[in-house]
Assembly symmetry: C2
Homo-oligomer: 193 residues x 2
DNA sequence: TCAAATCGTTCACTTAAGTGAAGAAATGAA
DNA sequence: TTCATTTCTTCACTTAAGTGAACGATTTGA
């Protein structure tokens, strides 16, 4: 399991054995059961996650309705907004599959993470990559219809469609579950004709 | 004009007079006329912008149609995606008002910008801020209807509604100009009742 | 194992956005 | 100023999403 993490890190910086040891000594690996809510609206958490295996979901509750805005899967990291601005969270993070992840805490782990210019560099690169991906994602979402968004998802993250319930997927696409059902039927109809 | 820039920078780092001189010697200030296209689809530019006064717009052309995904106004910076990944741009940047801005070029100005850990720090903070704002924006967009998005805009960036043509605004809200007209009439009707 | 809850789909109806066209209003250039 | 262009609004019609309800299928847990 640790290998997955170190392989990922090695794409950005190279670690000495000592550094790896130091990281492991922090005891950052966790297994989280499906259904667990890692962050609730109103909470002030300091935990940031990196997913080795499994799936997390970010959602708001607006007028009593869940609005899913993101899924996080293997080799993706998640820094909740409340960690950055130290304010109560506006959304929930739930665990949608039994998941293996690392939990980091920027404050507690200052010695290892913030002290090292290496990690600093990696964090910066990752943050820039994330920003770039986000902008593209956002533009893609804004410039397409629900049907196009579904087709994009089918192309770019086909696994999500399999592993995530339809109602969450619908919310993620910005529509109701009934509309997703219809939309899929419509696509199927077209592909037949 | 320079004061606007240095006031902005001073919120993040403090500059010596020498450093200010050095920046000014780079001759980074530009005035750009309304209608100018700063970046075209397919181009590989290395220019990043910081707007002192005026308004830039980012848009795609998809099936012959302009799709506006962002506006940039006073005290906002714009780093086109093509600068980061050094690939041809997928979108256009146009100047919607006579605009005063600074033009930076990460490659050419390595001596001043990249050498200094100060600037490095500022860039990092700015990039984190931008990412945070983006995520909130994205979530807000995904979780609301066109009408709600218009009302949000009215609350958060009322200036945009005044200074930007309705058809660009409609595109930015993810709808057609006709729908924006209707939607505004609907809101007006409600507020009367 | 069986009852309850959740989930996905379908249906009929409502509401809002897309489309194409037409005309009024505003803008810009000669 | 005037004429041409662009922009905004309105209209009638089409298409797709929202809503509330019903029903079977699946999952869950007592």
């Amino acid at each position: 399991m640790q290998d997955l993490l170190f392989d990922f890190i090695s794409k950005y910086i190279s670690l000495t054995e000592d550094e790896k040891e130091a990281m492991l000594s922090l005891d950052i690996f966790r297994t989280v059961k499906k259904g667990t809510i890692l962050l609730k609206e109103g909470q002030k958490s300091q935990d940031v996650y990196f997913i080795l295996k499994g799936c997390l979901r970010k959602y708001y509750i607006i007028n009593g309705e869940e609005k899913t805005t993101a899924f996080f899967t293997e080799m993706e990291s998640l820094t909740p907004h409340c960690v950055i601005n130290n304010a109560p969270s506006e959304y929930f993070i739930s665990c949608e599959e039994n998941t293996i992840l690392t939990v980091g805490n920027p404050n507690r782990n200052v010695e290892i993470f913030t002290k090292s210019p290496k990690f600093d560099l990696m964090c910066r690169i990752l943050s820039e990559e994330t920003l770039a991906k986000h902008q593209i994602n956002f533009d893609e979402f804004k410039t397409s219809s629900p049907e196009q968004r579904y087709l994009n998802l089918l192309k770019n993250r086909p696994d999500l469609i399999q592993r995530v319930p339809q109602n969450q997927l619908a919310s993620y696409l910005g529509i109701k579950p009934q509309s997703l059902s219809r939309l899929r039927a419509r696509i199927l109809e077209k592909s037949k004709a």
